[in-house]
Symmetry: C2
């Protein structure tokens, strides 16, 4: 029976077997320290001689567990045998046990299969897994049902630009920009509260630290809301749960990067600021003259909120109609919509949607759309749809901001951008 | 505060408010019975007069909850007011409250946004949500980490055929057939045990009741296994958990379709039969002369297993090399691979993978592949990769077989096939 590195303290004096990768070797001649890496962490192995294997080879070690205050974790394995399971060839292109910051982002991504072996780099994706779990668990506890909808669509939800085209048996199809229409259909199907975790695609030629052309969207939609304020309250609960889960399960991963998550109190204190007011505050704060929510405004409003309200989360609501899609529920000249900005970056967009068929027809007209092109979508509302709304969280952006990464690509296992399609 | 239909019995005599869709109306003149549908189920509302609204309109009803043995669920609401929240236009193209079997599959899929409103039809997707949750929960409890990998790739994992082509900024990309390479990379990254729930694409021109061109793949991969037998044991545990969850949470959805899930005992009794023997048994059983695992063989081997072993699940292992991809771990002329066949349909393919670099190079050569074309993939094994393997469960096929559907399209919210790209 294999023992994990993290379990050594429970095995005092017992004959145990570890298995994993050779992370580091310190050969002192008469004695050799081998640091072994497995899914639980690192373990120090003490052997008479260095193993005849290069770093990154996979070995099985048998021996006795014993306490040693100078060993990492306070325990080590006194080896009686070391067996080579899978050798690593010499000449590995990157040094796995070095700090990931010693690699350029380009090199790290070019060698992604190997650079992810570094425990600090990999840690971001353990955090990401916690986010995925906490998102789903929290929503299920609120009566939400998980759905899986198609990512191959005949038309885009946000209009024709920014779509990747797919050759679908000679027909033209597109990769879905969001599950928006499907989420709404599933609310109206009677599920009322749905969430979907799935890929989303934007064929935009951005080349910035904040954009990916493929990302994982944490989507939800629910019925019987009054306005976007209900959604903001739900997102507060969701973020509190996610941050609490990350804080309690991923303290090692966070501390490796000097990262921290907001407390529930900080989430509760996050202000809700109207679109126009947010721009005013940001202009005052940064001495700029912005007329819409730019990346600079996002950074400035968060700096203001952190200083004045003690929270690095800000909800901006009441976006003007012209900045929102045709399905946004109007409120005078603005809409019942919001963004959530976290540490200077928009991580969520959402809002109440139009659920009244007559209002939808007006919106089609106002936006120069033909109802006939959206007949299936319109049928959702033509035949009885309750007031509803929802939002989507960008998984990679949320991970990026939790970890404190400069670039969203660091928070994607295999990022896709204009220039990168591999590995 | 809104009360759900299912909560009526807890509200005896209280003033409550229900909200939902008008599912059915029985107007007796002096008294009118309205069946209201919400996410929890159906509730009988008793009113003085029929509501001035068509079926499928969304209403809010206030009144008192009272026991009535003749009402569905034994409780009803004596209405004091009915408010119209969202009217449905007359002339809805399908009858939502009729048995879904009264609609052809084509019509049901053409009108998917409306046909899903039928509680029996929608029930399959409540079951699907339970499968998704149980899959993830069971694996997390076994130390698995969830990952999200790209579905836009530069080359296929299973060779060049059957790939959908994407125009990626003028470059040629493909929709991933499976996360196979990424799963293996993540095992070798040190996570050791990973799972992914994501879409998979096959551009095959099948037009059968068992094929979809886009499906949701429940994928997993784990290190330090000996052979496919370890994977089969894991799948037994997984299926037991999934079936148990469905059985306990979805009894209403199952009984609407006359469906049942196998018991843990039946899962335990599922035989493991070698590929050649399985074909022999099936030929004997069905009087056929098959030389490979055809759909007929799958049905016959399950019929045999159900009669002889008391289980409608069969694991078939030891597939010949020629029927498995280049990465299958060889065992003489066969491979350490398996399929799981459930009620006559393959729902899982898996196996141990080649983890030794020299063996992989031989396999490249044997299959006429150039290592240079797979350099990133090969680097996983060149630099130390433990023995490992995994499998993938088709979510829609599993749902189909649990529900007893004739066609896998019934188990996909928005199926994609050669002729269908909408809604």
């Amino acid at each position: 029976m294999r023992t994990l590195a993290a379990e050594l303290p429970h095995e005092e004096g017992a004959d145990v077997e570890l298995a994993g990768w050779i992370h580091r070797v310190r050969d002192l001649g008469k004695i050799c320290f081998v640091v072994l890496r497995d899914r639980s962490g690192l373990a120090q192995v003490v052997a008479d001689a260095a193993p005849e294997a290069t770093l990154e080879s996979v070995i099985r070690v048998r021996g006795k567990s014993r306490e040693n205050p100078r060993a990492p974790g306070g325990w080590e394995l006194a080896a009686t045998s070391i067996e080579l399971i899978a050798p690593a060839e010499p000449g590995i292109p990157i040094q796995v046990n070095a700090d990931p910051d010693s690699l350029s982002l380009e090199s790290a991504l070019d060698q992604r299969f190997l650079s992810l072996r570094n425990p600090k780099a990999l840690g971001a994706f353990r955090v990401q897994a916690t986010i995925l779990e906490a998102f789903a668990t929290t929503l299920r506890s609120q009566g939400f049902t998980e759905v899986k909808t198609s990512k191959l669509v005949a038309t885009g939800t946000e209009g024709g630009s920014g779509l990747f085209e797919v050759d679908y048996f000679g027909q033209r199809a597109y990769l879905a920009q969001s599950p928006q229409f499907y989420k709404q259909a599933m609310v109206a199907s009677g599920l009322e509260r749905v969430f979907e975790i799935g890929q989303a695609y934007r064929a935009e030629k951005h080349d910035t630290p904040r954009h990916l052309n493929e990302y994982c969207s944490l989507d939800l939609e629910l019925a019987f809301i009054e306005s976007e304020l209900d959604l903001i309250e739900l997102e507060r609960r969701l973020f509190s749960s996610i941050f609490e889960a990350v804080s309690s399960r991923n303290s090692r991963e966070l501390s490796a990067w000097g990262a921290r998550v907001p407390t529930p109190e900080e989430v509760a204190k996050a202000p809700v600021v109207g679109h126009d007011e947010a721009i005013e505050i940001a202009n005052r704060e940064a001495g700029t003259k912005a007329y819409e929510i730019t990346p600079e405004v996002e950074r400035a409003i968060c700096a203001w909120s952190e200083r004045e309200r003690g929270s690095d989360l800000v909800f901006v609501n009441e976006f003007p109609r012209k900045h929102r899609p045709f399905y946004a529920y109007p409120k005078g000249r603005s809409t019942m919509s919001f963004d959530c900005i976290f540490r200077g970056l928009e991580v969520t967009t959402g809002g109440r949607r139009i659920n009244e068929y007559t209002m939808l027809k007006e919106s089609f007209e106002r936006n120069g759309m033909e109802e006939g092109d959206y007949a299936a979508y319109a049928s959702i509302f033509k035949y009885g749809c309750p007031p509803h709304g929802g939002f989507a969280i960008g998984l990679e952006r949320l991970t990026q901001k939790i970890m404190g990464f400069q670039n969203v690509r660091q928070a994607s296992l295999f990022p896709r951008d204009r220039h990168r399609l591999t590995p």
